[in-house]
Symmetry: C3
Subunit: 153 residues, 3 copies
Amino acid sequence: MSVYEKIKALDITLKAPAAPVGAYVMYVQSGNLVFLSGHISKNADGSVIAGKLGANVTTEQGQQAARAVVIDLLGTLQEACGGDLARVKRIVKLTSLVNSTPEFTEQHIVTNGASSLLGEVFGDAGKHARAAFGVMQNPLGACIEIEMVAELA
Amino acid sequence: MSVYEKIKALDITLKAPAAPVGAYVMYVQSGNLVFLSGHISKNADGSVIAGKLGANVTTEQGQQAARAVVIDLLGTLQEACGGDLARVKRIVKLTSLVNSTPEFTEQHIVTNGASSLLGEVFGDAGKHARAAFGVMQNPLGACIEIEMVAELA
Amino acid sequence: MSVYEKIKALDITLKAPAAPVGAYVMYVQSGNLVFLSGHISKNADGSVIAGKLGANVTTEQGQQAARAVVIDLLGTLQEACGGDLARVKRIVKLTSLVNSTPEFTEQHIVTNGASSLLGEVFGDAGKHARAAFGVMQNPLGACIEIEMVAELA
């Protein structure tokens, strides 16, 4: 299956990137690498998925939020590809910033919600390096923020 | 206006990079990319701007600290360019580590103090991807630390 | 001395990378750059070195944990090099995530345990850019997590 057949089979709809909440842009390409800005967790209506893992957000809810961030990242990446995700050669790196209490130690499990979707969509090309850790807080109180580096063909 | 005319118009004086506070260097170039180390917020006399957003540092003070970090980053980047910032093709990426309380959610607004100055100095070449989030603490208690990736021509 | 003579002189034994604790891979190469996933601090038997700087882990213990992470990173990097670390042209960048209390401000000193070992092993090629900061928490409670970017020849 092609990337878009997989996205359709997963019942995912890609959106145009949201406007950045600050004086920056959502992605920059340098050579074959695309650096995507940190994307915060949002609902389908654009409202922020706020909260803290270990307090008022469960690990499973965190995984769903991480999955939602990847859908937004794919919308941005599609724009970086000039509209065609088939140009993605490799997802290189994720950095996953999980809004956590000091006691919460499952940042890696939360982040699997992001990593798994990339694997489903891109197959071997979706296998990425990553770092996941617990942060004090994210902009607008988002329960997770993820940035990504991808390589284009 | 050239980059240096803009820097002069903004009444900014660039300095040589400070000595690293550890067993590392302030930047490494690989291919066309320059990776700059995390720079912590400092006053013009080199003393650390310490404190925590949400506690004893206001959002506006944080923006000024972020701006001060960018001035230091530009001094380092100038050295990486062999003395001529006109060689900068693009500011690629910022990562902004804001020393925050658990309740503070304006890391993006604080970081605009950095992003805006890069836009003023470099114009379109200063439009960068970025991630901003709240950290538990920074080295020496700095209220903000920023790392940067830039592309040289 | 060659890299492997230095590793032997330091009485270090490299291991194959541990299996990732999630749906990702331990490194991805893109062009000449290798992006290594965040590696968490582990004992020689593979158990996690957990704890928080400023609470139940001293700065010196943190430095030893940082050194242990670099040994694991070198094992992964060796695999990325097809078995020969002599292919490493430069250690480009470290990001050091130190599990900290709000009062602990020596993340840079802890991270020197990582940076110093890279200098001992690689000499000038081991001089890297870096960022170090205090995080709320790491996966599995690890006291430190480090990610790395390296350039291959």
